[in-house]
């Protein structure tokens, strides 16, 4: 630079001699102006190589700063750590959800058959398919390599000699293990289920019956006391990454034998899985399957039909909700929700860092001034502060990893997962690296830019307080942003909690408390009347009936219903269930018209319908009206008030309740006296040993069963509580940092105010008011957004709460109280400090 100056001056002196002073002056000015070129003013490439020593100095400075401001550093690192742990946990959970079912070989060739039921104006999608579909598909479609039906995982009793166990498992078509690659330890995968009497069991089941998987091969198990099954193989215990869980698979033929309705192509229920041949185009098969059932079912018509289709099996776990016959979301919605939450919580923590670093930067203005004076470029300063942010983030990451290992077991417990500590997974470290650098970048960039922009002359000369009012505005907006986000979380948490509470406490239409189910086993089915008589005489037993399904999961539907005055062109779908006598009395469902099924009347072919069914049939007083279900012709004897027999996500379907004749299976429903529950349970167990000595005694409570329906909602409620708490906590850390800073900045002002007679109360309110305004502004921003978000979520439920204004009032007031409490103590400290201390320090 100085050599250019020299050149200019030399020219000038030459020109003064040659042209005179005025012209030389003008030329000088012209030359100077023409020198204003970026490349001449300063080279943009660093003209020197920053040495290692400089970076080391950056680290030293950063470390000293961290130590000098212990409070700030703790707040910073704590916020970041919490945010990171939260992000990691959610990341692991999301990853685990996405891993579901992905372990099968050729998972891209595995499909599940979907079925969309059109009946009149109604369209219902699901996975219910005809029971013979699995065997038929490979014969019809050359593209299908294997197909297998798959039933419902249920408990069944198995016996070897004296040993009897009730174990959950399933039935599946013979090619099940050719479709899915659950590891087989013993036996040949290619002919595991080839005979009707074959069963394949898990390692656990093999060990509990025979001691080892090898011992179990070719042995015989007695199924439900009447049928010998031969073990043709043993598979490794099913991993938690499989959505299908079972301890054994029995050949499908036995299922069809036990449920003759499955032979009819007009009925559906089981799931069907299939594997396509290599290179087959699934969309083509999907298209061809639509009208597949046309030639199989006599009832098939344009108005009432079951349209089959395909869904990639890998997608099924996360995308299993149907809307108007199309797959629309499912668990993926929660996965995405949590993904968003993780990002937000991390952003909150980053915002803390930004806020505190920018605030604190005022104290470091002198350092910047000196650094710039001795020649630091702005880029070097930015690098310095980014490094500082990186250092903080790294400390937080290390702490977060430690914390992660500590909380992972309880997180697993909460989410019912078995996520392993991911420390040995290279991909995990890749993610950690990405998140670390992103966090450092997001949290460090703004402070770095602000701090490095200080002009050395100004910061070295003047007091620091007059600096940069724009950064104050930014910091205030950051606090508003944090609180707005936290309040959205809190509103979400409250509404989710209320909805879940509603789900649990809603009157489902019958009394689910003190209702016990027992599976019908042994001779209970055939001698049910005697069993019932004896059981009712026991202490604590109030009423007894039976039911083919559990009241919470009736899913057996049919279109074959005829009544007087029915429009012959329509075939509305009815759900149907078989029950015993005294059904209404036992379940305490409310009867609207007519009566319960009673022993003394010959009710064997009579029906009770629910309110919705009555409306569908168009009756106002259906008592005594004839009704035909399949070939059962009878009369309607009662109308029951609608009760929920499915989850509250879906509307109550029309229901026909009929008397079960000689059912060998299903459930005994027992209403017990809560005061005598132990006696009642003992009595039930004793009865079990009399009537069905082969089977171990198991029972379920209706309310517990009901709770299981809302597992994912329960999970969302639990997690949302933690995350909302965390968000508020992190935001308060930020607020605390801000108030500490602001009190420090204004020490002199406050002291002078006190000297002039301001009371402690006035000082506290002066400091708090600023922040309260921010919280109020945050609530104004967050409430509409929160309302909209929560409405979206509630839309998933057919039966839901309304959002009350109190949710928002409560959130607003609570946030304000929390913010006040955070601010208060520090404000108080500033208010009761002796003004002399602050003023003397001049």
């Amino acid at each position: 630079m100085s050599n250019i100056e020299g050149d200019l001056l030399e020219w000038y002196s030459v020109r003064v001699g040659a042209l005179g002073k005025r012209k030389a002056d003008l030329k000088f000015i012209l030359d100077v102006v023409r020198l204003f070129r970026p490349s001449v003013i300063r080279s943009f490439r660093p003209g020197y190589n920053p040495s290692f020593a400089m970076y080391r100095n950056h680290l030293t400075t950063a470390w000293r700063n961290l130590q000098r401001n212990k409070g700030f550093s703790t707040i910073n690192v704590a916020g970041l750590t919490l945010g990171l742990v939260c992000a990691m946990l959610i990341g692991l959970w999301v990853n685990d959800e996405e891993q579901m079912n992905q372990f099968h070989l050729d998972v891209d060739r595995l499909f599940v058959v979907t079925s969309v039921e059109y009946s009149g104006d109604e369209v219902n999608g699901g996975y219910d398919t005809p029971g013979l579909l699995g065997e038929e598909l490979p014969n019809v479609f050359p593209e299908v390599e294997y197909a297998a039906n798959y039933g419902w995982t249920q408990h069944h009793t198995f016996a070897v000699g004296e040993k009897k166990l009730r174990i959950p498992g399933n039935f599946a078509g013979k090619d099940f293990f050719k479709i899915f690659s659950h590891p087989v330890i013993v036996g040949n995968r290619l002919n595991l289920l080839n005979t009707p009497e074959s069963i394949v069991i898990s390692r656990k089941m093999a060990i509990s019956f025979f001691g080892s998987p090898e011992e179990a091969l070719d042995k015989t198990l007695k199924f439900e006391v009447y049928k010998d099954l031969k073990i043709t193989g043993v598979f490794e215990d099913i991993t938690s990454h499989s959505s299908e869980q079972f301890e054994y698979i029995i050949n499908w033929q036995l299922m069809v034998e036990r449920n003759s309705w499955m032979k009819d192509w007009g009925n559906s229920g089981p799931t069907t899985f299939l594997k396509l041949r290599e290179g087959a185009d699934w969309t083509y098969v999907d298209e061809k399957m639509r009208a597949f059932l046309k030639s199989y079912s006599e009832d098939y018509s344009e108005l009432d039909r079951l349209e089959l289709g395909l869904q990639p099996y890998g997608d099924m776990y996360l995308h299993s909700n149907f809307k108007n016959g199309k797959i629309s979301g499912g668990r993926i919605e929660y996965v995405n929700l949590f993904r968003l939450v993780a990002i937000f919580v991390l952003v909150l923590a980053c915002v803390n860092f930004m806020n505190l670093s920018t605030a604190r930067s005022m104290k470091r203005a002198k350092e910047i001034g000196v650094r710039k004076s001795v020649g630091a470029l702005r880029t070097t300063l930015i690098v310095q502060f980014m490094m500082e942010a990186l250092m903080f983030t790294l400390i937080a990451v290390v702490l977060a990893l430690l914390l992660l290992n500590i909380v992972l077991p309880s997180f697993n417990l909460l989410t019912e997962k078995s996520i392993q500590s991911p420390m040995r997974e290279p991909t995990f470290w890749l993610y950690v690296a990405i998140v670390t650098s992103l966090t450092a970048l997001v949290s460090g960039l703004y402070p770095a830019v602000v701090i490095s922009s200080f002009r050395p002359a100004v910061v070295l000369k003047k007091a620091t307080s007059s600096l940069r009012s724009s950064s104050v505005v930014v910091r205030k907006s950051l606090v508003v942003f944090q609180f707005a986000l936290s309040m959205i979380f809190v509103v979400g948490m409250i509404v989710i909690s209320q909805q879940v509470e509603y789900l649990y406490t809603k009157n489902v239409g019958y009394m689910k408390d003190n209702l016990v189910y027992l599976p019908i086993t042994g001779t209970v089915g055939s001698r049910f009347d005697t069993y019932k008589q004896l059981l009712k005489q026991q202490p604590g037993i109030l009423e007894v009936t039976k039911m083919s399904h559990r009241p919470m999961g009736i899913g057996n539907s049919t279109g074959s219903v005829e009544w007087e005055g029915k429009d012959p062109h329509t075939r509305p779908t009815f759900t149907q269930v078989e029950v015993g006598m005294d059904f209404i009395k036992t379940t305490k469902a409310e009867i609207l018209l007519g009566r319960d099924f009673i022993e003394s009347k010959s009710d064997s072919s009579n029906f009770i319908i629910n309110e919705t069914a009555m409306k569908v049939m168009g009756y106002t007083d259906p008592i005594g009206m004839p009704l035909k279900l399949w070939d059962i012709e009878g009369k309607v004897v009662g109308v029951v008030k609608d009760f929920h027999f499915n989850s509250l996500h879906v509307a109550i379907a029309p229901l026909i309740i009929r008397v079960g004749k000689g059912t060998m299976w299903g459930w005994t429903l027992v209403r017990v006296d809560p005061g005598q529950l132990p006696e009642a349970l003992k009595a039930m167990e004793n009865m079990q040993t009399t009537f069905s000595p082969e089977t171990p005694f198991t029972h379920q409570f209706a309310d517990e069963e009901y709770g299981a329906l809302y597992k994912s909602e329960q999970l969302v409620r639990q997690l949302s509580r933690y995350f909302a708490g965390l968000a508020i906590f992190i935001s308060c850390l930020g607020l605390l940092g801000s108030v500490i800073f602001s009190a420090e900045q204004r020490t002199k002002e406050l002291s002078i105010r006190k000297v002039l007679g301001a009371s402690a109360v006035q000082i506290v309110s002066l400091l708090s008011n600023d922040f309260l305004k921010l919280v109020v502004l945050a609530s104004l921003i967050s409430f509409p957004i929160g309302y909209f978000a929560v409405e979206q979520w509630l839309g998933l439920f057919k039966y839901r709460i309304d959002i009350s204004i109190w949710v928002f009032l409560y959130t607003g007031v609570a946030s304000m109280v929390i913010a006040l409490a955070t601010v208060f103590f520090h404000a108080l400290r500033a208010a009761i400090a002796n003004p002399v201390d602050a003023l003397r320090a001049e």
């Binding site: 100085s2 050599n3 250019i4 100056e5 020299g6 050149d7 200019l8 001056l9 030399e10 020219w11 000038y12 002196s13 030459v14 030359d31 023409r34 020198l35 204003f36 070129r37 490349s39 001449v40 080279s43 490439r45």
Partner: protein
Amino acid sequence: MKKYQVGEFEEIVMLTICILQSQAYGVSIQKEIEMRLQREASMGALHSALIRLEEKGFLKSKGGESSEGREGRPRRYYEVTALGRKALDYIRKNREQLWSAIPNVAVKAKFTSF
């Protein structure tokens, strides 16, 4: 592919520095150019060219003594580096090759039309 990227003015600056040998600094270069080529070279243009050439590695510079009229500001002397010489040779060779490739008639026609 261009082997060396040298602009027209940059080439002139480098050649001038070669002429001036050890006496090449801002003012002398500028004077030399103006004298020999009868064209004005502004200081701005010259200095940005010098900086650019130094960044490219074609020039190196060292600080020197001050002299009359500079009020104590040092001169900065420029010298063409080996790479710079190579670049100049390369440009020259390219030019000559092109000239020699022009058919005689065309050259004559061009010159006669003057």
